[in-house]
């Protein structure tokens, strides 16, 4: 059955259809130049790398301090996501892969980044925009909803392993 389930040690087992795996590969390839800053889609760069300060000088200092690290973290997560997509076991109908804790964190980061970019591309700038997002069969809309399902599955699997305060 497709979905994500927790494994001992903080990792997860991911099982998706072969067409879903193809979609994830495609999205990952499209995401790379946007994360790297060599392409922008409808203001996605500002959403992926938001401001920390209103004050311009403080913001410039913050960007100097952490900007490259944030880009590096997102690209490293994407690289792990793409590497793990090429591993795992391929069956007749589905692909299955066991991810360790770090790989799972990379998936969560990348899936979230993918949703943020798709949300920008679809013009979802406030809650009401969901009503005008258009045809559910639109590939971007489908991808956004699919990644929402996948992210929810990842969160549910990982939430159980969070320590109690």
């Amino acid at each position: 059955m497709p979905g994500v389930r927790a494994l001992p040690g903080g990792g997860v087992r991911v099982r998706v259809s072969l067409s879903e795996r193809t979609l994830l590969r495609t999205l990952a390839a499209e995401l790379e130049p946007i994360l790297a800053g060599s392409e922008d889609v409808a203001g996605a760069a500002q959403r992926l790398y938001p401001r920390a300060y209103e004050d311009a000088d403080a913001e410039a200092e913050y960007r100097d301090l952490v900007g490259d690290d944030l880009v590096g973290e997102h690209l490293a997560a994407l690289a792990t996501f793409r590497r793990t997509l090429e591993a795992g076991a391929t069956g007749r109908l589905a692909w299955t892969s066991d991810l360790d804790a770090d790989e799972t964190a990379a998936w969560l980061t990348t899936v979230n980044n993918g949703r943020l970019v798709l949300g920008c591309a679809l013009g979802i700038t406030d809650e009401r925009a969901w009503d005008d997002v258009g045809d559910i069969r639109d590939p971007k809309n489908m991808a956004l909803h699919y990644l929402g399902w996948l992210q929810d599955e990842l969160v549910a699997a990982l939430a159980a392993s969070l320590p109690s305060p």
């Binding site: 959403r47 938001p50 300060y53 913050y62 944030l70 949703r115």
Partner: protein, 97 residues
């Protein structure tokens, strides 16, 4: 008699500077229409060690009121908190009252 007035204002200035330095920086998480509610709860629990009920309350505050104060403290720590929130894809800023 003339010495006291020149000393007293300096102490006031120092004290004001110290007060300014000690004012905490607030970490604010802002609403985003695309980010999943479950993911926001997860990130707040992971980064700040909140229990599920507290993280859910903060997430709902973000959702309904547009923002929520999730942490406050010295500038360096607050800036590090914002950077970690940004690394997790949440919109966060820091400012003083």
């Amino acid at each position: 008699m003339a010495a006291s007035p020149t000393i007293a204002p300096e102490r006031d200035v120092d004290s004001a500077d110290a007060d300014e330095r000690d004012r905490p920086w607030n970490v604010i998480v802002w609403n985003d229409p695309v980010t999943l509610m479950s993911y926001v709860v997860f990130v707040l629990r992971k980064l700040f060690g909140h229990d599920e009920a507290t993280a859910t309350r903060l997430m709902l505050q973000v959702h309904h009121e547009g923002k929520a104060l999730v942490a406050s403290g010295p500038r360096e720590k607050s800036e590090a908190d914002v950077a970690r929130l940004h690394a997790h894809g949440l919109q966060a800023t820091l400012a003083r009252d």
